[in-house]
Point group: C2
Chain length 295, copies 2
């Protein structure tokens, strides 16, 4: 089965479990609304691609892929949770997300807070339930997922840096964005029984590229193109890579980060699929940007 | 060591891990603020009391106690997280908690949202890290904790019932309050290697009593006595056990729920410590209430 279809089905199965036969209906509906339809599902795709890269082909690859689908699903649920809370009036006050009203705009602020909370719990419960018979993987995968999201180094800490008087932009971007990519790569490697450590750099470099891409889009894309408000960095006076470099330089840096990411892939792994994934997710937008700026 | 001291030390150790050497300082400070000083720590105390009841005395009891400290800590962190989010302006808009300004009143709304999120992650990570070498316990304890908190039956679903047009007060109270007591009892039993199923009823009955007690306090206690705003049920038109019964009847029901809870303790377990704990947590307030109403 196509990995994108696997991911959608796995997310749906997790959400069906959270709905239950007699739970509060609006919460269940709003949780689905927060997860579907999705964006590029880049983090779960990355997790699966790393598992595939570590396990070659055949039965071993199939098993690794199935295992990796668990943290892939959890990380996407956590990503969705973070978007719901980040869009709240007390943060970005964003009324638009993935091209439709954000969760609090559609369901109210209280439900949006609960949706984020419930998606976090669902992510964790999904890992615990689906890996309960795989005790070798359960603890390291769970810890990897938690580290990517919680304090002091995960995306929640990344958001919290926005509230500090002084912030190092590298630390801010590493925690706010790259942490989840690092988690996706390491969890993918763990799922295939590989050492996650070398994949830390791969994830960090991809995260760096992705954050710079996000900063570019915030200035050069339209809300229609990216399905969320633009010019948010200026509005909230947030550090942006464009503060100190022009778009050509940033564009070149993004391509360099991706090259570094691929160069950090362990020699025994097959990086082809990963390279295609990154080209699709990042290369396409950069080519578009180059073209529009040349015109 | 006294169980109350064990709980405080364990919570502090978890928070120290979340602080890290170079994380965002305000988030770490606000997380500590949300957890210390605590209330009665009733849920972790209950978890430890059930583990003790299931394991008798000696080395086996010590091991069970140490294991139970893990879900006990996690459940208290999750309880604190729920208080932080419940106090937010979009929910109860409560400026007072445990006798001091609530987290959003002290640190702002954005930080309060992040504190809740980070405490949820910390709870889960604590379970995964401390039980990583106990694969038999890790998955069931984690699932028990997640069920007590998430959708469709945990305390987050309980909060979500407040947003529904129709709600059965029994379902509302079972999810909003009792779920965490059920989780504490079941996790305590699991920690001692006992069957958690019979403890479900014990937790449900204690939760029922505790919710009724909370409804009584909301009407008959002062904000100073309970460290949080009173008359909230009327303010938010929330279902209360006092809607359909007077305080004497409710008081009698609470005592009956506690008797039922103790009657549901499996015969092979020692319920003495549990009985003392409940008497301290609930009986004392009821006696005070009876006295003040008789005066």
């Amino acid at each position: 089965m196509e990995s994108s279809l696997l991911i959608e089905e796995s997310l749906q199965a997790a959400l069906d479990g959270a709905r239950g036969p007699a739970g509060p209906a609006m919460l269940a509906e709003a949780m689905e609304y927060a997860v579907f339809p999705g964006g590029a599902r880049l983090r779960p795709q990355l997790c699966l691609a790393v598992a595939a890269a570590c396990s070659g082909a055949g039965a071993r690859a199939d098993a690794a892929n199935l295992t990796a689908l668990v943290p892939a699903t959890a990380l996407e649920l956590l990503h969705c949770a973070s978007l719901v809370h980040d869009d709240l009036p007390c943060f970005d006050d964003a009324a638009l997300r993935r091209g439709k009203p954000s969760v609090h705009a559609a369901y109210g602020e209280a439900t949006a807070v609960l949706v984020g909370d419930a998606l976090i719990l669902l992510a964790v419960e999904t890992v615990a339930r689906r890996l309960r018979d795989d005790p070798v993987r359960l603890a390291p995968v769970m810890i990897t997922v938690c580290e990517a999201v919680g304090a002091p180094d995960g995306i929640i800490a990344g958001q919290a840096w926005e509230m500090e008087a002084e912030v190092d932009i590298a630390v801010y971007h590493r925690t706010k964005t790259a942490a989840l990519f690092v988690g996706a790569c390491c969890a993918g490697a763990l799922s295939a029984g590989a050492d996650p450590e070398p994949w830390r750099t791969v994830g960090a470099k991809i995260g760096e590229a992705y954050q710079a891409l996000d900063d570019l889009k915030d200035v050069f894309a339209t809300a229609r193109e990216i399905g969320k408000p633009v010019a948010q960095d200026r509005r909230f006076k947030r550090p942006s890579v464009l503060d100190v470099a022009g778009p050509e330089v940033v564009s070149a840096r993004i391509r360099r980060s991706l090259r570094h990411a691929l160069a950090a892939v362990p020699v025994e792994a097959d990086a082809n699929h990963l390279a295609r994934l990154l080209d699709g997710a990042v290369g396409r937008f950069l080519a578009m940007l180059d073209k529009s700026r040349a015109a």
